[in-house]
Structures are given as structure tokens and as C-alpha cells.
Amino acid sequence: MTATVHPRHRRDPARHLVLWGLVVLAAVMLVPFAIIVLNALKSPAEYAASGPLSVPDEVYTQGIVDFWQRVDFGVKLLNSLVISGSVAVLAVVVSVLNAYALGIGRIRGRLWVLTLFLIANTLPQEALVYPLYHLFKQVGLYDTRLGVVIVFTIVQAAFGTYLLSSTLSGFPREVLEAARVDGANRWQVLVRIVVPISRPTLGVLLVFFFIWTWNEFLIPLVLLISDENQTVPVALGVLQGQRSMDATTTSASALLGVLPAVVFFLLFQRTLTRGMTVGAIR
């Protein structure tokens, strides 16, 4: 009401032009999704007859069903859910523990420890993947979901540690002191005070870790070779790499890959866009 009086806008058509320009650009961004939906619901015969741009005469879901059964998509979906879900929870736990020691405990040498975690976060996975492949073969973690969970727990926690440590180092000392005076030990302070107060940040991290892990490709591609362990992106990526699918099958597979992402997007949109500034450091 006070300072933000809007300067009077002139009603020139240029302003609408900007809006329409943006709408067209946004539509262009969505065109690939539309094309995927069009063709995933089209029968191969119709595709052959009228090409990729036509609107299907009737909705044909057999392609999706066939593809689902061919790659056992339910299993892939479950693998991705189990791996990403476990990583998200475990990585948040490890991040909190690390950040508690570094940000609140202020242990000696914490700058060095933080630097190590930061380096771990920026290292390209290419520089880890062969030794991990080799080591995991020797200890029986190769081609197991557990192996992938272990790897990404620390990869994501490295980021979480870095972020949470700086958040927690600004944690109000009086609150901690008060809890200690009341006789709470370190563990109780963490569980009863620090974690509940940091819950919003932890929620953002949980969502990010889940989606980042869901989308990972290189390490799951190398470590998970058998069908029953593969994640959604790996299964689809490998099939695509073999170039053995016809057009409608490809779009059926793409649609099945896109759908979970869109679901997460709608579920977490607020967290995602709000947390983007958090993710910026990555």
C-alpha cells in the first residue's frame, strides 16, 4: 500500500507481444512431450499410414502394455523407487549427522573435512566408476541395488553436508544451551531440537536427493547389469542404445519414462522451485 505504487503502464500492444512470445516459447518447450503422447497412443499401422504428427483416430494402449510387459516395467519402477527412496532417507540422515558434528560441534579441522565433502560432491563419477565396479565385484555388491544405494548415499550426503553445515552453524546457541542445561545429551539435542527445527530444509533435501538419484545414469548403468535390478532410466537408456525399437514402441517407452518425472514434478513443484536456490550450488 505504501511504497509499491505501480507506475502507470501504457496500454501498448508490445506488452501483449511479450506475453505471446513467452507463451509460444513455452509451447515449444512442451512440444516434445505432446509428440510423445500422440505417438505412444497410436497403433503402428496408423503410424505407418499417417506419420508422427497426426492425431490418432482412436486411443491405442496396446503399445504401452506390450512395452510394459516386454521390459517388466513394474520391476524397474519398483527398483527405482526402492533405490531413490532409500538413498534420500539415508543421505539426509548422514548429512544431518555430519552437519551436526561440523556445524554445531565445530570439531577441529572442520574446514578440511568440509573441503573433502565438497570435493566428493564435484568429482566426476567417471573417475570413480571403474574402481567401484572392480571393488564391488570383489565384495559381492556388483549388480545389487544395495551397492548403488551405498554409492549415492554418500554422493548426495556430500552435498547435504556442505549445505546443512552452513545452515546449522547459524543455529541459535541459546536454544542448544537451554537444552543442555535441562540435561539433554548430544544425541537428545540432535533428535529433539536440531532435527525438528531444521525440518523444512531437510524436506527440500529429501525431495532433491530422491529426484537426483532417480535420474542418475552412469553408475547404475555400470553397476546394474541384470534385468531384475535395473532402474527406469537405465532400462530405457540401454534399450535405446541398442536401437532395436520401432517408432511407436520408442514413444511408449519415452512416455513411461516421462510419466514418473511429471508426477514428481506436480507433487513437489513448490519444493522444487523454492529449493532451486538451494540446489544452485550443485
Binding site: 503502464h9 512470445g21 513467452l22 548429512s95 573417475a127 570413480l128 566408476v129 548403468l221 544452485a280
Partner: protein, 315 residues
């Protein structure tokens, strides 16, 4: 201020808190144990092994043979390696430079025009459209596009045909002269939403009075954008450019799915060629050397980033 209290303060204050802290160090260190064990086992040891392997000739089975810096000598003399880095520069343009430039304009238009004239709801719906490709698994985005760009029956060529521009149809991913540009185009599509969202968040920080003052002074929209908005969101610009550059150096999935590095190595990048050397050519030592060089490059970039960032904070 006299010297005495200044000198006395630290000595008087220090013993108590640090003694108390020292007493508790043990318990705080315990909290670090799970993270530290994982860090050592999953990151530090494998990375050290990778560096070690890069000094050997090894097929992945049997014993590695020590050859010192031979892999690196071979690497720096390898024209394909330098070509792969040139391709990587192209990917930096596609993932950092272009999305940042376009993202600035889109974010400013959304924030300045759409949100104010048509309501924040319109702006956030449009923003969501731009951001959607960002949540796709990169491998899935690759599948979507490899099919759209397919030479026969691909949607792009079909669309060109439909509007009478059939002569422009190409084998977008199969022609060595244009494959890299096609990949770059896909990456711009994937990446654009990220700077848009970050910049819009940054613009919320700008004091509206600044923009109004500029408007009253008769500055054009572009003048306000260039002289007020862009300088005000410099921290965001910085973060986006550098994180996107690092991400561009690590690109693997889109290359694997879209082109497999082809045709004829026209789209190979270092991360992909290290993968090829590890698992296809069984030249593990050589692949490890490529991965190590890539790591050094990324760490240098990160260091430069953190340096510049802390210098910016001091100011």
C-alpha cells in the same frame, strides 16, 4: 582502546569454552563416523585407485603393468582426445552460455511483465513449462529427442515436410557435420528452465524502488534490465554459469543415448570416451587417465568458483 584489554580478552576467554569443547570433541566426532567411513570407502579410495590405474596398462583382468606417465603422454598427443574436448566446449556453450543468456531474458520478461500485468499465477505456470524438462531423467530426454530427430519417420523431418520445407530435412544425429549441433540443441532445451527459476528467485531480491527510479529517469525497459536487473543478480548469474559449466563437462547420458559418440566420433566427449575405454576397448589405464584429467579440470573450475565467490562476499 588500550592494549591491555585487547590482549587480555583472548587469553581470558579462551580457556573456558575451548576446554569445554575439547571435553566434548569425542562425542561430536562420533557423529561424523558413518559419513567419514562412506566417504573414504566410496569416494576417496576409488579416486586414488583411479589415479593409480591411470599409471598402468591394464585390460581389467590380470595384473596392471606400471608404465608411469605413458598414458598421459599418449593422451596429450591424441588428436581424438583434443577433439573430444572441443566438443565439450560446444556443450558448455549449450548448457551454460546459451541457457544463461536466454534464461535472463525469459526470467526478466516473466518477472517484469507477465507477473505484474497478468498476475503471478500466469508467470508461475509459464515458469513451470520451462522447468519441466529439468526433472526428466536425462536418459529419457535423450530417448524423446533421438526419436524426434530420427532421419526416417522422425517428427522434426515430418514437420518440415508438412510445411513444405522438406528440403531442410536432415539426418540430424547421423550427419557428422550437424550431429554436435543437434546434441547442443537438445541440451539447451533440457537446461533452459534452471537459469529461469534461479534468476526469477534472484529478481525477487531486487528493491522495486531501484527499477521505479530508473523508469522515472526515463530508462527504457532494456536500459532498466541491463543497468539495474543484471548487476543486481550477479551472484545468481555467477552460480548458474559455473554450475552449468561443470555439469556440461560431466555430460554422459545424452551422448550415450543420442549418438553413442558418433557418427565417427563427431560427438565424443571426455566422459564418454573414458567410459568407452573402460568397458568397450578394455584400455582401463587410458580411460582412467582421461577421467583423471577431467577431474583436475573440474576441480580447478570449482576452486576458481569458490575463490571468486568468497571475494565477492568480502566486498
Amino acid at each position: 582502546m588500550s592494549l591491555a584489554p585487547a590482549a587480555a580478552r583472548p587469553s581470558a576467554a579462551e580457556p573456558r569454552p575451548s576446554a569445554r569443547r575439547r571435553g566434548g570433541q569425542g562425542t561430536y566426532l562420533l557423529f561424523l563416523v558413518p559419513g567419514a567411513v562412506l566417504l573414504v570407502a566410496v569416494v576417496l579410495v576409488p579416486f586414488a585407485m583411479n589415479v593409480g590405474i591411470s599409471l598402468t596398462r591394464w585390460s581389467g583382468v590380470g595384473d596392471p603393468r606400471w608404465i608411469g606417465l605413458e598414458n598421459y603422454r599418449r593422451l596429450f598427443a591424441d588428436a581424438a582426445f583434443w577433439a573430444s574436448f572441443r566438443h565439450n566446449v560446444g556443450l558448455v556453450v549449450a548448457m551454460a552460455v546459451l541457457p544463461t543468456a536466454a534464461g535472463l531474458v525469459v526470467a526478466a520478461a516473466l518477472f517484469d511483465h507477465v507477473a505484474k500485468r497478468f498476475g503471478p499465477r500466469a508467470a508461475s505456470v509459464l515458469r513451470a513449462c520451462f522447468y519441466l524438462p529439468q526433472v526428466l531423467p536425462i536418459a529419457v530426454a535423450g530417448i524423446v529427442w533421438s526419436w524426434i530427430l530420427a532421419p526416417k519417420g522422425g517428427a522434426l523431418n515430418a514437420a518440415l515436410d508438412a510445411v513444405g520445407l522438406g528440403s531442410l530435412a536432415r539426418d540430424w544425429l547421423g550427419d557428422p557435420d550437424i550431429a554436435l549441433y543437434s546434441v547442443m540443441g537438445v541440451l539447451v532445451w533440457i537446461q533452459l528452465g534452471y537459469p529461469v527459476v534461479i534468476f526469477m528467485a534472484g529478481m525477487r531480491r531486487i528493491d522495486p524502488a531501484l527499477l521505479e527510479a530508473a523508469e522515472l529517469d526515463g530508462a527504457s525497459w532494456f536500459g532498466r534490465f541491463w543497468h539495474v536487473t543484471v548487476p543486481q543478480i550477479r551472484p545468481e548469474l555467477f552460480v548458474v554459469l559455473l554450475t552449468c559449466s561443470i555439469a556440461a563437462l560431466k555430460v554422459f547420458g545424452p551422448i550415450y543415448v543420442l549418438t553413442g559418440g558418433g557418427p565417427g566420433g563427431a560427438t565424443t566427449v571426455p566422459s564418454y570416451s573414458s567410459f568407452q575405454n573402460f568397458f568397450e576397448k578394455t584400455q582401463v589405464g587410458y580411460g582412467a587417465a582421461i577421467a583423471t584429467v577431467l577431474t583436475v579440470l573440474i576441480l580447478l573450475l570449482t576452486t576458481a568458483f569458490l575463490r571468486a565467490q568468497s571475494r565477492g562476499e568480502e566486498r
